[in-house]
């Protein structure tokens, strides 16, 4: 696990001991470290790790938006606790089947439950890996089980998020998008 600046910042906080020298109650705010939590490089590294280890492929950042697809798949995993928000994975149906094929070694010709299940798991691992890159966030932020939506012509909109990362990626000619939306931070 990476030890990044958030843990160092917590250790270096002035006034870490009370007047009697006893350990005070731990107070920690992610708000002071928002720039670390929102570092776009963490999302890129998380996508690379999940796709390399679980699908055996390398991804590269790409220009958005995604090419229009007759049907698309969106998986959502919620964050709760010190940070609230969602991790969203979006791709077209063909891309979803290709992702599931790499995960399972099986070929798919339709968006069946196994494909949706696979996309939900990818989103789950992306969310867990992303928050795991900030140790204090990892321990104080829970994940929901994945929800998967399929359909056409829908838009994800969050009102006034604290921050949002919206990245596009490509592997083997297939495009997908990963979005982190933070709508609350303590």
């Amino acid at each position: 696990m990476l030890l990044n600046g958030v843990r160092k910042a917590a250790i270096a906080t002035p006034g870490a001991r009370g007047q009697d020298g006893a350990e005070p109650a731990m107070t920690f705010s992610l708000r002071d470290s928002l720039h670390l939590v929102a570092d776009p490089a963490n999302l890129d590294a998380s996508v690379d790790e999940v796709f390399r280890l679980m699908l055996g492929v390398s991804c590269e950042r790409a220009e958005g938006p995604l090419a229009p697809a007759p049907e698309s798949v969106t998986a959502i995993v919620g964050f709760g606790g010190m940070l609230s928000g969602v991790c969203v994975f979006r791709c077209g149906a063909d891309a979803a089947m290709k992702v599931a094929e790499h995960m399972t070694g099986m070929a798919f010709t339709m968006l069946d439950d196994t494909v949706k299940d696979g996309i939900g798991e990818v989103c789950n691992m992306l969310a867990g890996t992303w928050k795991g890159r900030v140790p204090e966030l990892s321990a104080r932020c829970g994940l929901s089980v994945p929800a998967v939506i399929t359909g056409t012509d829908y838009i994800l909109r969050v009102q006034a998020p604290e921050f949002q990362l919206n990245h596009f990626y490509r592997f083997q000619g297939i495009g997908f998008a990963v979005t982190i939306v933070c709508d609350g931070i303590q």
């Binding site: 280890l53 599931a100 399972t104 439950d113 798991e121 789950n124 867990g128 089980v145």
Partner: protein, 127 residues
Amino acid sequence: MSEVRTLIVDDSSVMRKIVERALRQAGLDPLVVLEAGSSTEGLDVLKAQPVDLILSDINMPSMDGLEFLRQIRAQNLAPGVPVVMITTESSEEHVKQAIQAGAQGYIRKPFTAEQVKERVLPLLTVA
């Protein structure tokens, strides 16, 4: 190695297949896999038949993996059988909770077959 009867508990059928594949790549052979899509199903399997190894997700709807593990210990199901948690949750706190609940191993998703081998095979040797 004699037959290894392994229970894999995960609400994702894809993850159950991936874990099974990783176990086979890790050299667990012959391997008999029993699958459960929920903690409740997992408990039912353990009540019905013996296993040599249990691998469980943590983040599952209804009863999570930690409660599943506590139930195994509380009901004295599968005594002495090693339990390995496989999860996206990777903080020290989560690992500590799993160990306190009675887990012998912890694998973070995403994982490689090599990591599965390193964490699982020593447990079977000890058992």
